[in-house]
């Protein structure tokens, strides 16, 4: 690191990875998604009926590399 001159210690790396995951989800759950969560989005389904879909997350399996 330019600031300290050494490589980052292990717990800083872990911190960075955690921050990375959180930042990733901040980007993925964008305004469009949050709007859809609240108000739903209208989609024309293949059976010809339009429905208002509200996305809901039911499962999230993540492997979080510790190192």
């Amino acid at each position: 690191m330019e600031l300290t001159g050494d490589g980052p210690p292990a717990d800083v790396s872990t911190h960075c990875r955690r921050e990375l995951m959180h930042a990733v989800w901040t980007i993925l759950l964008d305004d469009d998604f949050l709007y859809a969560y609240e108000h739903g989005i209208i989609i024309l389904c293949p059976d010809g009926v339009s429905r208002r879909f509200y996305p809901r997350i039911f499962t999230y399996s993540a492997d979080h590399p510790e190192k």
Binding site: C45, Y54, R56, Y60, D63
Partner: protein, 397 residues
């Protein structure tokens, strides 16, 4: 073997009526677990002089073919006024939205379902035996349910005008395609391909007036090596992630040192959802969750047991659905409100058994689909929505 025994009386039944439902025919092949051997008669003697052993059908022969769930009959408007007997799954019932326990009849395995309202779309109506078995069907079976096996095609909307890009027309496209694909040596096969192309309507002699193979190839190379940001039509975007890093010193809020991680490719979740739910393959999706029950038909007084087999028969989905129905609707919108259930995975993988190339994708699956379909790779049920860049341990800012 009659698979649709229970579906012969296709009425929507209430819980009370279930007690009086005609018992399944007393056929031992229907209830293999309760098989009773018939009364022993005097054993016959075979040619050798030994008693002939009474032959009983093995489990494999007794085993029933998988049966689809019983169909729900056409909605009867008269049913709407009948009060439900079973309780809702939510504790608060003061709103008008109640759980109308609309039950299907039991199928041959004793399974039945209970819907909260009459479903507007039941994908299981179109299930046939081929959808329920694991082995691939014999060649002469042509009745494969297309809705279950067709893979999703997300980028299916490409107009004709853009399809020859970066080449001007179909002629140049075809010539370049012939030149740069297939074998690099002259052969009869390559000749055939070329002649077929020249005979087709895609080839027009006038288009080749200014054709220069070097120029076209250079154009093609430039197209292939264009920077990634040009790929907007796929919906993939590339962003930089900025994370805050501690360096052991005290900082004010604005001057915390940050570390930029570039190369985060992702696409809009909403677009993926829209594309998937409007695709024809989504006819296999369930929009309305239900409770699944099993009733032991050999003992009529047994209590039906709840069966949890899919995300759309789970309490979580049912709760989310009821909560959504009780929420005030959007202004001026009378459309059916439905849950799009998302299942997310992220997993870092190595791309090959050698080297260090690796990816860390985020996958999206839809819980509205049956797990039996979702788990099959050829149904293309998995959607990649992001690739997380790795932060290597040897980084320096």
């Amino acid at each position: 073997m009659a698979i649709d025994t229970a579906a012969t009386d296709e009425n929507i039944t209430l819980e009370l009526e279930l007690e009086h439902e005609a018992p399944l025919p007393n056929d031992t092949s229907q209830n293999p677990s309760h098989f009773q051997p018939s009364v022993e008669t005097d054993p016959e003697i075979n040619a050798v002089g030994r008693p002939v052993r009474k032959k009983r059908l093995t489990w494999k022969l007794l085993q029933q073919l998988p049966a689809p769930p019983s169909p729900l009959s056409e909605p009867l408007t008269a049913f709407e006024g009948i009060e439900p007997i079973s309780k809702t799954s939510l504790p608060s019932c003061d709103s008008e939205v109640v759980w109308k326990a609309i039950k299907t009849t039991e199928n041959s395995f004793g399974l039945y379902r209970e819907y909260p309202h009459i479903p507007t779309h039941n994908p299981d109506d179109t299930l046939c035996l081929l959808n329920l078995v694991d082995h691939s069907p014999p060649i002469n079976e042509t009745e494969l349910s297309a809705s279950v096996s067709t893979p999703l095609t997300l980028n299916s909307s490409s107009s004709n005008a853009a399809s020859f890009f970066p080449f001007k027309n179909s002629t140049i496209f075809g010539m370049m395609s012939w030149m740069w694909t297939g074998s690099s040596m002259k052969s009869i096969g390559e000749m055939k391909k070329l002649v077929d192309f020249l005979k087709s309507n895609d080839f027009k002699k006038d288009d080749l007036a200014m054709f220069d193979i070097h120029a076209e190839t250079t154009k093609f190379d430039n197209y292939l090596e264009r920077p990634a940001t040009d790929n907007l039509q796929d919906g993939w975007r590339e962003s930089e992630i900025i994370i805050q890093v501690p360096d052991g010193k005290i900082h004010s809020k604005d001057s915390i040192p940050t570390f930029k991680v570039p190369g985060f490719h992702h696409r809009s979740l909403v677009n993926v959802i829209k594309a998937a739910y409007s695709d024809p393959a989504s006819t296999s999706f369930h929009y309305m969750p239900f409770k699944s029950f099993w009733k032991d038909s050999s003992t009529p007084e047994s209590v039906p047991q709840r069966v949890y087999d899919e995300l759309y028969s789970s309490d979580a989905m049912i709760e989310a659905h009821m909560k959504l129905q009780q929420q005030p609707p959007e202004l001026g919108c009378a459309l059916e409100r439905v849950i799009a259930s998302l299942m997310l995975w992220s997993d870092s993988t190595h791309l090959a058994n050698f080297g260090t190339a690796s990816l860390w994708p985020v996958y999206l699956f839809f819980g509205n689909q049956s797990k039996w379909v979702r788990g099959k790779p050829k149904t293309a049920s998995c959607h990649h929505v992001a690739y997380i860049p790795k932060v290597s341990s040897g980084y320096s800012i």
